[in-house]
Homo-oligomer: 228 residues x 2
């Protein structure tokens, strides 16, 4: 990557860019690589990993918690333009928990190795402040998710999820269809497949959705939104 | 407070102390006050408040989430020597969630007004980095709590709570007694009183605890720990 390309890439995202020395800028630019993750692959597995700092160029990543029994709870998702510090959590001593990150679609990311990001964090206070601030932003998102999970009744949660899904513009949502299995939805919202199936059946009985194999068609958006 | 007293107070806690200019040190020292909160009083109520940065001198504070229906979930507790940045959450733009803080006992705190802490955060990158880092440490604690709530079976959660309580050295824990009502325990671990009562009865039947009004006596610590 040329110096100009590198500046173009980072100046938008890294508020600390102008506080880097020339050697620091070069260190960063010489250690960024483009990585493509295939759909379904795991980028980061809890404490075993510390891949590095991620900037998403395309695709979709999902950050989740995992219980010992294998139950997953989705904390948040990352789309184009989003950055991820939890995949470099070893850089921040204050982070003592583990998350997992999957590519939900084929995803292209710019990756800065943890060792390099770590070095910059230790030697430049602006980088440290930036890294911590990013983590705090994720803290806010996780708190929102937790509030959904812990405080909302399940019908409300499922309705919120379906409306969110519908708002993503893909080929299928144009026809008000969501192409996900009940198993997938359960995983995304931290519930059990049976519970999702039961509630979707209830929604179908209420004339809110129409169910077919692998697809949920929303037929009464107004009623769905009234649940929220 | 004299300059020396102020330095003594802060140098232990504030990693940024040596990176403050003399006027900044003076600003801080001239704007710290000792506040006593009576047992049961609320220090901080979500977005309505931004009391300031807190350093606990004695007592116990409880930080919790509150649902619209009034359900509480304890996120963590603060004891002597602990600091709290979430009571000054307006200082950090990245924090977009609300927490509530109660004094669980009569508590004495050193308080730095939000406006002053905000000014220092904006003008000194070391203070900003410190504030964010503190928030990230709380993020880690909250993630731990969430894992307990979302992934642990309830008997395990209650056992963890009782063992934790027992490890605090108070007059009553000397006799292996915990002086809390079922209602209080339910609030602390984010459950319902009925659920706590049912599980405690089960523990009593198993010969793990002995229940009397307002007191839980642990009679088989080994068995209790085996649940964890």
């Amino acid at each position: 990557m040329t110096n100009d390309e590198c500046t173009d890439l980072f100046i938008k995202h890294f508020t600390f860019w102008n506080n880097l020395s020339q050697p620091e800028k070069e260190l960063l630019c010489n250690n960024v690589s483009k990585v493509t993750y295939t759909m379904g692959s795991t980028l980061h597995s809890g404490s075993e990993d510390c891949v590095g700092f991620i900037l998403v160029k395309s695709g979709q990543l999902r950050v989740y918690m995992l219980s010992e029994e294998g139950r997953e709870i989705t904390l948040y998702r990352l789309f184009k333009g989003d950055t991820c510090i939890l995949s470099a959590s070893c850089v921040l001593d204050a982070i003592t928990f583990d998350v997992f990150i999957n590519a939900e679609e084929e995803s292209e990311v710019m990756l800065i190795k943890s060792s390099v990001f770590n070095q910059l964090t230790k030697q430049n206070i602006y980088v440290e402040a930036y890294a911590s601030k990013l983590a705090v932003m994720r803290f806010s998102e996780v708190m929102w998710t937790m509030q959904q999970i812990l405080f909302m009744s399940f019908d409300k949660r499922l309705a919120v999820f379906l409306v969110d899904e519908l708002s993503k513009s893909t080929e299928s949502t144009k026809n008000d269809e969501i192409k996900l299995t009940h198993e997938q939805i359960a995983r995304y919202i931290g519930s059990a497949r049976e519970v999702v199936t039961r509630m979707l059946k209830y929604f179908a009985d209420e004339g809110i959705v129409k169910l077919s194999r692998g697809t949920i068609k929303i037929i009464d958006k107004k009623k769905l939104k009234e649940l929220i």
